[in-house]
């Protein structure tokens, strides 16, 4: 490549073009191998990511302005309607909340009796989505909070309806989160009805999860709610994940084909919530590594 001369070699003199390409290719390959084997290049990523940050803001601005316009042009009438509706809703919620306090106290008492550990009672904070990953085979989102806001790698991301995903990389002001629908994401779940444990895999489609490890005779019905089991240690237990949408039992196959629809609207959310778990996971869940979180980064 280097010594080859062509008819247009005279017209443009770029010194040692072939050599430079070869050197740069070698450098890229080394970088890729290094990046793939051990994820040690976070600082480099963070530095360049900080440089791209203003651009992300600029790109995000039209959507923000649109949202603001919609908000500010809503008519007074509909605002009043909404206000009344919200007041009623709040009253109802308050009533439920009173019950909840009683229930919580009762739950704590019962747990004391059983000498069980407390369930999560972590901190929650709302984060905005700055952009979605443009890579079609990676379902991930960029959040507008970073290590400045105490976000850490592996943190759970939820929305009002269920689990959305988990934080993959934290930058200073932004962080990248992987969605549960990403083909590389696996999530330990249990069936809310009977406690049956399994793993929900992402399929690359926003509206579908796969549950490939359930035997044909598993007690599972369409409409069953799947919640996080907390066994991977990454997610707090008890958050809704998906609803079983299809169970197909083929007698020759050892496993049933089960599909589920995520509870969270994965491709519609603009705001998500981050959970800070108060205490590290219990040792018993550490031992259970084969059920654990299998997030492979390409």
């Amino acid at each position: 490549m280097v010594s080859q001369t062509s008819s247009n070699a005279n017209a443009v003199r770029i010194p040692a073009l072939g050599l430079r390409v070869a050197a740069l290719m070698l450098l890229s390959i080394l970088l890729m191998v290094y990046d793939n084997r051990n994820q040690q290049l976070d600082t480099v990523r963070r530095a360049i990511g900080a440089a791209v940050y203003p651009l992300q803001i600029v790109v995000d601005t039209p959507a923000r302005i649109w949202g603001w316009l919609v908000d500010s042009s809503t008519s007074r009438n509909s605002l009043e309607l909404e206000n009344t509706r919200l007041k009623i809703q709040q009253r109802l919620t308050r009533a439920e909340l009173q019950q909840l306090t009683a229930l919580e106290a009762e739950n704590a008492r019962l747990r004391d009796l059983l000498e069980a550990r407390d369930r999560i009672s972590g901190d929650i904070r709302v984060a905005g989505i700055m952009s979605v990953d443009t890579n079609p085979f990676r379902h991930s989102i960029v959040l507008d909070v970073g290590s400045e806001d105490r976000v850490y790698d592996g943190q759970s991301v939820i929305d009002a309806n269920g689990v959305v995903g988990q934080v993959l990389q934290t930058g200073l002001k932004t962080s990248q989160a992987i969605l549960i629908s990403d083909p590389d994401h696996a999530l330990p779940v249990e069936v809310n009805r009977n406690g049956l444990r399994t793993i929900a895999l992402g399929t690359g489609q926003f509206d579908q999860l796969d549950l490939p490890y359930l035997p044909n005779n598993a007690d599972l019905e369409v409409g069953d709610v799947l919640v996080t089991s907390g066994l991977g240690g990454a997610f707090p237990p008890g958050y809704p994940v998906a609803v079983v949408s299809d169970v197909r039992r083929v007698p020759q196959q050892p496993f049933a084909e089960v599909k589920a629809t995520p509870s969270a609207a994965l491709n519609q959310v603009r705001e998500v919530m981050l959970i800070w778990m108060d205490q590290p996971e219990a040792p018993e869940s550490e031992a259970n590594t084969d059920d654990g979180e299998v997030v492979e980064q390409p």
């Binding site: 062509s6 247009n8 017209a11 443009v12 003199r13 770029i14 073009l17 072939g18 430079r20 390409v21 740069l24 290719m25 450098l27 890229s28 390959i29 080394l30 970088l31 890729m32 290094y34 990046d35 793939n36 290049l41 480099v44 990523r45 360049i48 990511g49 440089a51 791209v52 651009l55 992300q56 600029v58 790109v59 995000d60 959507a63 952009s131 979605v132 990953d133 443009t134 890579n135 079609p136 085979f137 990676r138 991930s140 990389q169 990248q176 083909p183 590389d184 690359g204 926003f206 491709n267 492979e296 390409p298």
Partner: protein
């Protein structure tokens, strides 16, 4: 030729930044797979009209920024863009005198090669994806190229 390629570095930087913005802009999921490779097309354009100024080194650096912006392995886009720009520079004199249809077909070949290299590297690294998602950007990129190159030519000659 030197007066032609005397476009400011500022203009080049702005065009690449615009391409990058178009690349990271959120799109509805339905047309997400058909987002053209704006940055690659912009780099092909600049390598064709001003190969002395914007060569493989520039392409490599921009590729690294792409890797960070898209969350791919560091070096994946860098390697691919660097290679495609190299090919462009090898053939830039022919490409300049090509009629538009022929040039567009050449660019289509390059965009296909670009997607193929990305696909290949993904395969080696073990990232699986349906092969169909790689075709969308090639198709839209090819369709957009004539307009893009004419637009850029217009900007360049007005300034120069």
């Amino acid at each position: 030729m030197s007066s032609r390629s005397s476009v400011g570095t500022f203009g080049m930087l702005m065009s690449v930044l615009a391409a990058l913005a178009l690349t990271i802009m959120p799109l509805p999921a339905a047309i997400e797979d058909f987002r053209p490779d704006w940055v690659m097309m912009m780099l092909i354009y600049w390598a064709m009209v001003a190969p002395q100024k914007y060569s493989v080194g520039t392409a490599w650096l921009i590729g690294i920024v792409m890797d960070v912006a898209q969350g791919t392995m560091l070096g994946q886009h860098a390697l691919t863009m660097c290679l495609i720009v190299f090919v462009t520079i090898r053939f830039h004199l022919q490409m300049r005198v090509f009629p538009l249809t022929q040039l567009t077909l050449t660019v289509m070949a390059m965009l296909s090669a670009y997607q193929f290299l990305l696909f290949w590297i993904n395969g080696v690294a073990g990232v699986t994806a349906p092969a169909t998602v790689y075709w969308g950007p090639v198709i839209t990129g090819t369709l957009i190229w004539p307009a893009l190159s004419m637009f850029m030519n217009g900007l360049r000659f007005r300034r120069g």
